[in-house]
Amino acid sequence: MIFFSKNEIIEMAVKIEKHGFAFYDRALQRSDLNNDAKKLLQTLRDEEKVHEQIFLNLREKIDNFDLNSDIDWDEAKLYIQSMVDIHLFSQPEKAIQLAAKARDMKDLVSNAIQFEKDTLLFFYFIKKFVAKEKSKKAIENIIDEEVSHVVKLKKIQDTL
């Protein structure tokens, strides 16, 4: 028996990307950003929007039969729910708060890195539950982009 529908899983992913967009969008309103930071935050914000759209498209394309039937769904539910519960932006207002209230650039970038890491963890786990190659590949591509987000943010962090 499958405890999550593919829609529920996709919906969680869409929410995470939306919250990421909200975080970066709010961060761009800050007055303490240098040009490099602004440029990076714009890129990251725009990529979250693209990722959200990719997940929405996936929702149209895949169906429940694409979920891996080898999975123990008791186990899967444990993982997925845990990864959602521990995500930095698990509550909607938190993303905006963390962007607005960060003490300084260092704090802001630290929050951004944490968000990207938590998102990556979530995507690693949902990838395990998808059986169809094409859907797996779509999630893998997003994982690769989120990885590049971490690398870019870390580079900025090292200069602060």
């Binding site: 186990e75 521990i86 690693y124 971490v150």
Partner: protein, 162 residues
């Protein structure tokens, strides 16, 4: 910058488990821990020893074998270095500091959750890029146990008066 070798990656995994042990062991020396917290911290500490031993056996086995790595290893190596550098216990003595200087039990448990999340991310990243099925099987089991650690720590935060 040099690419990581497989041995270096396994060594990083061993160091992470060692630091986890140090953190939990130090945390258990704190006064006024609730009995629920103390019980869980002991279990987590003991699990880290088991994981460390598992990785050490893996390292011995891998020394004798060729391991297939994914084709984009240079990129992967760079990413793993970033993830490893951003691990909460990456700085010297961080594990001890985060156990002793946590303001209260709540902050202690939050530090523990952060440690487990960072560890999970590192292990998942390796899992994705190693093709050897025996290594993947071992990593999968450890990942499952670390997820349970996170869940138990989160439950402790939400249900107790921590």
């Amino acid at each position: 910058m040099e690419n990581f070798s497989i041995n270096e990656i396994i060594e990083l995994a061993i160091q992470i488990e060692k630091k986890g042990y140090t953190f939990y062991n130090k945390a258990l020396e704190r006064k006024n821990l609730s009995s629920n917290s103390a019980e869980l911290l002991k279990k987590l500490r003991d699990d880290e020893i088991v994981h460390e031993q598992t990785f050490k056996r893996m390292r011995t086995k891998l020394n004798r074998e060729e391991i297939t790595l994914s084709g984009d290893w240079q990129e992967v190596s760079s990413y793993l270095r970033t993830i490893s550098d951003s691990h909460i216990f990456s700085k010297t003595d961080a594990a001890i500091k985060l156990a002793t200087s946590a303001y209260d039990e709540k902050e202690l448990i939050e530090n523990a959750i952060q440690f487990e999340k960072d560890t999970l991310l590192f292990f998942n990243s390796i899992y994705e890029k190693i093709e050897d099925q025996a290594v993947r099987k071992i990593l999968k089991k450890i990942i499952e146990e670390e997820v349970l650690h996170v869940k138990k720590l989160k439950n402790l935060l939400t249900i107790s008066d921590v």
